[in-house]
């Protein structure tokens, strides 16, 4: 199954992108009737759904034990857009599925693929529990806790038993490419600092909660997501691009040059840090309480409080230092 998921996801992406490019090209034609434009818009919507399905298949086919978690923190609203079709397909066709994810939820430190596989495992179990329910419904809801988000998966199974397998670390071999490894929902989430919490029942409703650690543990729930300002002072445009991908994924904000607020974190090159004149200015940031991350080799530079070095080859792990 994982190979099939992977192959389908890969092939779908290779099919979808040329179609979207052709639609773009056609839409740019000047002599296109209004009706033809409507048709093209409809085709684009349908193809976009296939693209979402391909994205979902990619999540399900990723090896959950070999993920580059640093780049794959999860923003729940975007994640839901990718997995919604798979969730619907997992549940009975007449199930009513709703999700409540505020757009400004902080990112969680669990890769999207791991979260998708954990949730689908739960829902496979939910499906069997809902088999005899007249109007099955499933609700996914994010609940803010002081140091984590809890993703509640609630269904109306009534008195029927269910989800017990999840508590037993369901092997879920169908979604894992490593035979014999523990790939149950709980095992997967624990690898990334999360957990499956004990289920609870209230009347006909049964809820399982997934505990998901925040991507940026320094930002408490309820605080502005962009209170941490990161100044990028890197000369290599590649390093700049990598930093710009990771910073917002950690719920932080790149500090604009004209921002009157001082940075909380400064990322600079070894070359500028090792320059005597620049070093003094950079260390001034640390004296004001900011942290300094230097990309490069320390080459025997003396240690300073608030200064950490990052090997450029490890830049994908920048978020661990933020």
């Amino acid at each position: 199954m994982p190979l099939l998921d992977h192959g389908l996801g890969h092939d779908l992406r290779n099919l979808v992108m040329p179609v979207l490019l052709r639609i773009d090209t056609l839409t740019a034609s000047e002599n296109l009737s209004e009706k033809a434009r409507d048709d093209l818009a409809g085709i684009r919507r349908s193809i976009s759904q296939i693209q979402r399905l391909a994205d979902g298949l990619r999540l399900m086919s990723s090896d959950p034990l070999a993920l580059d978690a640093e780049w794959q923190v999860t923003q729940l609203p975007a994640w839901w857009a990718d997995v919604r079709a798979l969730v619907n397909d997992t549940l009975p066709p007449h199930a009513f599925v709703t999700a409540h994810f505020a757009y400004d939820l902080p990112a969680v430190r669990v890769p999207p693929a791991v979260l998708a596989q954990a949730v689908i495992q739960l829902l496979v179990d939910t499906r069997s529990a809902l088999q005899h329910v007249l109007r099955p419904s499933v609700t996914l809801r994010a609940i803010a806790r002081p140091d984590a988000l809890e993703l509640g998966v609630e269904d109306n199974r009534g008195e029927r038993a269910g989800l017990a397998q999840t508590d037993e670390n369901l092997p879920a071999a169908s979604y894992c490419s490593l035979s014999g490894a523990e790939c149950g929902a709980r095992s997967l989430l624990r690898r990334y600092g999360g957990d499956v919490l004990p289920g609870s029942t209230s009347g006909a409703l049964h809820t399982v909660r997934l505990r998901l650690p925040l991507a940026n543990r320094a930002i408490p729930i309820g605080a502005s997501l962009t209170t941490t300002r990161v100044a990028i002072q890197l000369a290599d445009p590649r390093h700049v691009a990598i930093a710009r991908v990771i910073i917002p994924r950690r719920g932080m904000k790149e500090r604009a040059a004209d921002d009157p607020q001082l940075p909380d974190i400064v990322i600079c090159d070894a070359k500028s840090y090792c320059d005597m004149h620049q070093q003094d200015a950079l260390l001034e940031h640390t004296r004001r309480g900011a942290r300094l991350l230097v990309v490069g080799d320390p080459h025997g530079e003396p240690e300073h409080a608030g200064v950490r070095w990052i090997d450029p080859r490890e830049l994908a792990r920048l978020g661990d230092f933020l």
């Binding site: 490019l21 773009d24 090209t25 780049w71 691009a241 792990r317």
Partner: protein, 126 residues
């Protein structure tokens, strides 16, 4: 220039990029195995290079050869499965950009423009 075994994708990308008034000629390689020679000859400003090439062609080795042989050409990596380590590795070799096949044409074009300006670009999934 786009080096990808998916000819439909290369054709569609060519047609889409032709809509951009400031983009010049779209160079093609008849055979993937001859891509490096074609790049040496045509010296395109940008090469969009698929990371998963067939027939035993090592895209990372090809990237390394382009960086070594054609200094004026900047390479953007094209992939269906972007990961942080792959991006870091490609950029360490000398790639200027990284574009997911799950992204939109606008973002591919934005990446090309950024790299032409001398900025590195990473466009992940939509």
């Amino acid at each position: 220039m786009c080096v990808d075994d998916n000819i439909d994708l290369v054709d569609a990308l060519e047609r889409r990029l032709q809509l951009e008034p400031d983009f010049g000629e779209f160079v093609r390689a008849e055979e993937l195995s001859g891509a490096l020679d074609r790049i040496r000859e045509a010296k395109p400003t940008i090469v969009i290079l698929d990371i998963d090439l067939p027939d035993g062609i090592d895209a990372l080795a090809l990237l390394s050869d382009i960086v070594r042989d054609v200094e004026t050409t900047r390479v953007i990596i094209f992939t269906g499965h972007p990961t942080g380590q792959l991006i870091t590795n490609c950029m360490a070799i000398g790639a200027w950009g990284f574009v997911s096949k799950g992204t939109s044409a606008e973002r591919v074009i934005r990446a090309i423009r950024a790299v032409v300006r001398g900025e590195a670009a990473i466009e992940l999934d939509n």
